[in-house]
Amino acid sequence: MASSSYSNSPCAACKFLRRKCLPDCIFAPYFPPEEPQKFANVHKIFGASNVSKLLNEVLPHQREDAVNSLAYEAEARMKDPVYGCVGAISVLQRQVIRLQKELDATNADLIRYACNEMPPTSFGRSSRMGHGGSSSSASYDQNSALYYPPPWNNDAQERGDHGSI
């Protein structure tokens, strides 16, 4: 964590905003002058005042993570103005569901082998990338606490993947 408050050069935020970088500048520890683009992106998408309010609401030891997440989301929104980082979430969630389905199918094949049964075209099934609801997917379906469904269901799939990160 760069701390420009101990040096004479202003932080990237104060440089961008063209103001005096005070010793208690909230941005200084997280926006070093060597990374001007980082603050520029954050300021363009969220605004300096909003970021300042957000940083004041979290604990000091959490601020670095908060700034890094904001910088990531800002960069994602710059690259993809329509979906931002939510596009990546949608893609990753579909990947998780697909992997879970494949895992369920492979486990079923394994049990059949253990019972000395030959599975019918089991390896073709595992390579199929299907989407859609499946009752066998346990950990990654809508009932999971870790599932944060994106605001669209199949519209994005019809338009194709839009992960920009």
Binding site: K44, I45, F46, G47, S49, N50, K53, L54, E57, V58, Q62, D65, A66, N68, S69, L70, Y72, E73, R77, P81, V82, Y83, G84, C85, V86, G87, A88, I89, L92, Q93, Q95, V96, L99, Q100, E102, L103, T106, N107, D109, L110, I111, Y113, A114, C115, N116, S139, Y140, L146, Y148, P150, P151, W152, D155, I165
Partner: protein, 293 residues
């Protein structure tokens, strides 16, 4: 002021900002008056001006999608103030990595099962012809050479062609022994596996059935049966080949058979003579009968 949609109520954005909500309000379609929290979250993270900047250069259909993503991102940031969507992405990456590792493990286990089944099939097909060679090889040849009908066939087969039988024995031995070796190796592995599974199941009070535990128990029972069968076959084969391994005993047995073959020739000659005598007698009887008349 009327909204798009026909209601006279101001949208959540205009309500929050305490402004007149005109019919041309750009945020009205996305922030309904009965959902104030959505706008508050979006306003807290982005701000109205930044949202409008994002929507400014987009097409109408893209604007709808962009607003949905902005609202989603804002809600996530409200839920997780520190990490936001970045935290969700990290979690998803972790889940994917775990699922891929588990899938890789299951695939490797599946390959193992497949190889095991193929080996079972190949060992069964290898055992069948070798037993045929041992048990059924040229019984007629054995009888023709030695001429002893009471001699047991497998034993004759062994003594007639020791070289071939050694070859077949080596084949069967390799097949059986390798099968047994593998089975013993698998058995040792499976016994450890079974013990490990029992230990884990004993330690685990969970009632959820673990498919890997079930598989190990099922697999462990199979090679034991195969190994016993192989051992039995080996015990049956082994005493037969003690005789051919010892050359002197073979030579002695050969001499014994040769001597016994001479005796058998004498017996057959005597039997033939007896048959001829009987025929002559019967022919004579017929002759006498006819002569009476």
């Amino acid at each position: 002021m009327t909204l798009k949609g026909g209601t006279s109520q101001a949208c959540a954005a205009c309500k929050y900002r305490r402004r007149k909500c005109s019919s041309k309000c750009p945020l009205a379609p996305y922030f309904l008056p009965d959902q104030p929290k959505l706008f508050q979250n979006a306003h807290k993270l982005f701000g109205v001006s930044n949202i409008l900047k994002i929507l400014k250069n987009l097409e109408p259909r893209q604007k709808e999608e962009a607003m949905r993503s902005i609202i989603y991102q804002s809600n996530i940031r409200d839920k997780f103030p520190v990490h936001g969507c970045w935290g969700i992405i990290c979690q998803l990456h972790y889940q994917i990595r775990q699922a891929e590792e588990e899938l890789h493990a299951v695939h490797s286990q599946l390959d193992m099962y497949k190889q095991y089944q193929q080996h079972q099939i190949s060992s069964l097909t290898d055992d069948a012809p070798s037993q045929l060679e041992l048990g059924m090889a040229t019984p007629s040849n054995a009888l023709s050479i030695f001429g002893h009908p009471t001699t047991p066939q497998p034993y004759n087969a062994v003594t007639t062609s020791p070289v071939t039988q050694q070859h077949s024995y080596s084949n069967s031995n390799n097949a059986g022994y390798s099968c047994g070796y593998l089975d013993s190796k698998d058995h040792l592995g499976n016994s450890w596996w079974v013990q490990h599974t029992y230990a884990t199941t004993n330690n685990n009070n969970n009632n959820n059935t673990n498919p890997m535990a079930i598989q190990s128990q099922l697999v462990a029972s199979q090679p034991l049966a195969i190994q016993q069968e192989v051992v039995q076959d080996y015990d049956e084969i082994h005493p037969f080949f003690d005789t051919i391994d010892d050359r002197q005993s073979y030579i002695d047995s050969k001499e014994a058979y040769e001597s016994s073959s001479e005796e058998s020739l004498k017996d057959t000659i005597q039997s033939i003579e007896q048959v001829a005598e009987n025929e002559l007698k019967s022919a004579a009887a017929c002759f006498s009968l006819t002569s009476v008349n």
